[in-house]
């Protein structure tokens, strides 16, 4: 299945894009998605365990990803 991963701010700069489409097997978790992204060129600046959101909500790494889910890797937030 195709999983869309959104990147923001310093993470988007590091990977040179703000959106990645990954072809991953059914049953992958949020942690698996992060691990795949961490293999891409430029991903060395991502921390080992970044914050992850699915469909605009923070999730834990063991959250199973379904077809059509929007996964986002969230850099340290800095609002205010």
């Amino acid at each position: 299945m195709t999983v869309t991963v959104l990147l923001f701010a310093s993470y988007a700069d590091a990977l040179g894009t703000d959106s990645i489409a990954l072809d991953l097997p059914v049953g992958v978790t949020a942690g698996d998605v992060v691990a795949h992204v961490q293999q891409l060129p430029g991903a060395g600046r991502l921390p080992k365990h970044p914050l992850v959101a699915v469909n605009e909500r923070y999730v834990k790494r063991d959250r199973v990803i379904a077809t059509g889910d929007q996964v986002a890797i969230i850099p340290p937030v800095a609002g205010g």
Binding site: G16, T17, D18, P76, G79
Partner: protein, 161 residues
């Protein structure tokens, strides 16, 4: 209660009028503004971006928590995105309540939770022309370097920032 992510100047006076009510004895406005120095470096401006849909959702959740915890529905939060100059307001939290104690508590709760949970980022612009993403956790460098390089993955446009 009302929350919004906006792309325009925050009109604090309008927000104060919006929460005015005969039952309120205390009205507070917290205004976050862009300042000229951060970590010893001279700042010329700040560029705010967000994961917009999630930021709107998370901001509303925080305000709802404050409404339930502190006993007032008169809470308005606006956070601005885009390029801001020194002194411009990036965020305003306006709270009105029958009593001042709960108004202060509610205002403090909203700003502290916002800084922990709402997916908004700021790119500081410095006097020397460089830019850097602000990282409150202090983990690693996030300086903005040269042009972005394409990678071997398809892109889908329309990513709200």
């Amino acid at each position: 209660m009302r929350t919004a992510i906006v792309d325009r100047t925050i009109e604090v006076t309008a927000l104060l009028n919006e929460v005015a009510g005969n039952h309120n004895g205390a009205t507070l406005a917290f205004i976050g503004t862009v300042r000229d120095v951060n970590d010893g470096r001279a700042v010329t401006g700040m560029e705010y971006t967000a994961y917009r849909g999630m930021a709107e959702r998370e901001l509303a959740t925080i305000a709802r928590e404050a409404v339930e915890s502190f006993g007032t529905n008169d809470i308005i939060v606006e956070h601005r995105l885009g390029m801001l100059e020194l002194r411009e307001a990036s965020v305003a939290i306006v709270v009105a309540h029958p009593h001042r104690g709960a108004a202060y508590d509610a205002s403090r709760y909203v700003i502290e939770q916002l800084k922990k949970r709402v997916p908004i980022w700021k790119l500081e612009h410095y006097v020397d022309g460089t830019r850097e993403w602000v990282d409150p956790t202090g983990s690693g460098s996030s300086a903005v370097s040269g042009a972005r390089e394409p990678i071997a993955a398809s892109r889908s446009g329309g990513n709200a920032q």
